[in-house]
């Protein structure tokens, strides 16, 4: 029964109890109001009917005298379910009518009898029953007293009936509400239980688990959905982290191993002075490459952590791009490539000049590396305003990147060329992407020549938002 105890502890129960009390108060009010109103209505009806009859009887007496009056009353009194009729002498003795006895003194005063009174009437079985009635007394000019009344037994019954019906209906509603609440509460509780079970499993380390969804799109589903989206993000980050540490292990251990091997080899061979020198120079070269990789990694994580965001200022992008192109142009020319720039003046962005320069440098460096020896050795750097964005692209005519690989290449240490024959850290595009994210922009990769199989080329675009004035 621990389940019930849990149920009793829930917020739902507390709310339901509050609602139940309010409901009961309203229901009680409703019962009293309805019965009181119907009572008043029925009494009014009774009074109206009696008043009408009294005026009729008055009329009959006025036109036909006592005889006509007696005949009329006699006839009316005999009808089944008839009203009360009493004709009494001036002293109050009952002369005719369908009433056996009355409360004494009732006929003394003309007009309404005021409170309901008790009487006994003749019934079909000639038994005397005590009834309650409301009546009007008429005193004729000859001293006769006429009482016209109406039995209240029927309205009373009706009133009781209405009250009972209301009580029953409300009772059923109350019980129904309780049952429904119990069912809903249990259902909600079950779903919450399933959600917390799933979270427990996720916390235990299974990040592939997802919170259950019923498919109804209700609050629980919406909650599950956003939590699941969050889990997806965490899983992706986690996966990225794992992959990065794997890659770091690989990409740092490989050159470290090479470095160690070289040092060992230099020691093992009885080398000449110049041999040692050459080995040591190679070793320094290896360590420089390692440092370079380390620096790039650190830079990416710093940029991703937003540490450099504090150093944002207005950057004359046109000038930076021109500078960067000018910096790389001789290298391109040395390798029989043309590096051209199409840069309109005075395009500014808000950002970090160093990081933008580094990112553009990476893109140009990549373009140079992959264009070398190609059929079309031209690289074009374009800066342009496109809609509300500023696009800086570097287009080459190298082998390009197939559409399905584009997401991979921005991952850390991913290099399409598995043999890693081209020099590089495998971090270039990751850094560009991190830099663009820091600038609320993005890195977009496209074909330079769409549709071409072998020489599709790569257009890497740094897309900046237009700085707000």
């Amino acid at each position: 029964m621990s389940r019930l105890r849990v149920l009793l502890r829930t917020t739902a129960l507390r709310l339901s109890a509050l609602y139940l009390v309010l409901f009961a108060l309203c229901a009680a009010f409703l019962v009293f109001y309805v019965t009181a109103m119907s009572e008043r209505l029925l009494e009014q009806q009774t009074r109206d009917a009696v008043t009408a009859e009294v005026s009729q009887i008055d009329n009959v007496y006025a036109r036909g005298g006592v005889n006509a009056l007696l005949r009329t009353l006699e006839r009316r009194a005999r009808q089944p379910g008839a009203n009360l009729y009493v004709i009494a002498g001036p002293t109050g003795e009952i002369l005719a009518g369908n009433v056996a006895s009355l409360q004494p003194g009732l006929l003394d005063k003309e007009g309404w009898t005021g409170e309901a009174f008790r009487y006994q009437r003749y019934t079909d079985e000639s038994r005397k029953e005590t009834h309650v009635a409301l009546a009007h007394v008429l005193v004729l000019d000859n001293g006769l007293r006429i009482l016209v009344g109406r039995d209240l037994q029927e309205p009373e019954k009706f009133r009781v009936l209405v009250r009972q019906a209301l009580m029953v209906a409300l009772g059923i509603m109350g019980i129904g509400a309780l049952l429904i609440w119990f069912a809903i509460g249990r259902n909600a509780l079950k779903r919450i239980d399933r959600m917390s079970d799933a979270s427990t499993r996720i916390m235990a380390g299974d990040l592939s688990q997802r919170l259950p969804m019923s498919g109804s799109g209700d609050e629980f589903d919406r909650l599950s959905e956003s939590l699941n989206a969050m889990l997806g993000r965490i899983e992706k980050l986690n996966e990225g982290l794992r992959q990065v540490s794997d890659n770091i292990a690989h990409d740092l251990k490989t050159p470290l191993t090479r470095l160690r091997n070289k040092a060992e080899a230099a020691l093992a061979h009885k080398a000449t002075n110049s041999g040692y020198r050459a080995s040591l120079e190679e070793i320094i070269g290896e360590s420089d490459q390692l440092i370079r990789t380390f620096n790039a990694l650190l830079m990416i994580s710093r940029v991703e952590a937003g540490a450099a965001a504090a150093e944002m200022s207005d950057v004359d992008l046109s000038r930076s791009v021109a500078d960067c192109v000018e910096l790389y142009e001789p290298v391109a020319e040395d390798r029989a490539l043309t590096l051209e720039a199409d840069v309109p003046p005075d395009i500014h962005v808000s950002g970090n000049r160093e990081l933008i320069g580094q990112a553009l440098g990476n893109l140009i460096d990549n373009a140079i590396k992959y264009s070398e020896g190609g059929a079309n050795p031209s690289i074009r750097v374009t800066l342009a305003r496109r809609d509300d964005r500023i696009v800086l692209s570097v287009a080459d005519h190298g082998p390009g990147i197939p559409a399905d690989k584009r997401e991979d290449v921005v991952e850390r240490f991913v290099r399409l060329d598995e043999s890693r024959s081209k020099p590089g850290t495998g971090l270039g595009l990751s850094l560009v992407e991190a830099v663009m994210e820091m600038h609320q922009g993005s890195l977009e990769l496209d074909d330079t020549v769409p549709g071409s199989e072998n020489n599709r080329g790569l257009t890497a675009s740094m897309v900046f938002p237009t700085p707000s004035a």
């Binding site: 370079r292 710093r302 150093e311 500078d323 910096l327 290298v331 040395d334 160093e354 320069g357």
Partner: protein, 238 residues
Amino acid sequence: MVARMKILIIEDDLEAAAYLAKAFREAGIVSDHASDGESGLFMASENTYDVLVIDRMLPRRDGLSVISELRRKAIHTPVLILSALGQVDDRVTGLRAGGDDYLPKPYAFNELLARVEVLGRRKGAPEQDMVYRVGDLELDRLSHTVRRQGRELLLQPREFRLLEYLMKNAGQVVTRTMLLENVWDYHFDPQTNVIDVHVSRLRSKIEKDFDLPLLRTVRGSGYMIKDETAKGDGRPDA
């Protein structure tokens, strides 16, 4: 003969400090050593040095605070900051605190040496000189003209700035990163030999039709412009 340069190294890693002292001595530079921020600050305040090499993270007093305190005391000895933090924003904070140059760890000693020598300003042209001369090469900073043996050489604006920086520091080694920083104002790693290509273009312009080479490549370090025929330490005429 120019007096030997004297520097102070404030570095808490004793092994690194010993290595630096030895390497500087071999390069003809005398060095003192302090192993924490407080004693470093004291020594830098009491003695006269040409350059201070300060590690950024020090016990007892942080490297940046040493620099700020020195500057507050109106001691303007050039400072080179060494730091394991090498990112853009760290460089900016370091220079803002009053440092004159910033070198991230790990560094090549040649790089450090070249920078310390430039900071020490024992060689090269005085800042206020409007005309730099190395041998028969002449650079006019006002008219932006370059002549060799009286013949005007046509240089691109960037080539002019490159030569200007080399000549300003004539007789001492400038590294590729120093060139990138001072001529292009970038501190990133260009990955390829971009600077070498620029220098070789410049070299062909200033040496092609002349017998005497001026621009030397210093193996493992960088470049140096020097009048090889001049006597002494290669200082241009002062």
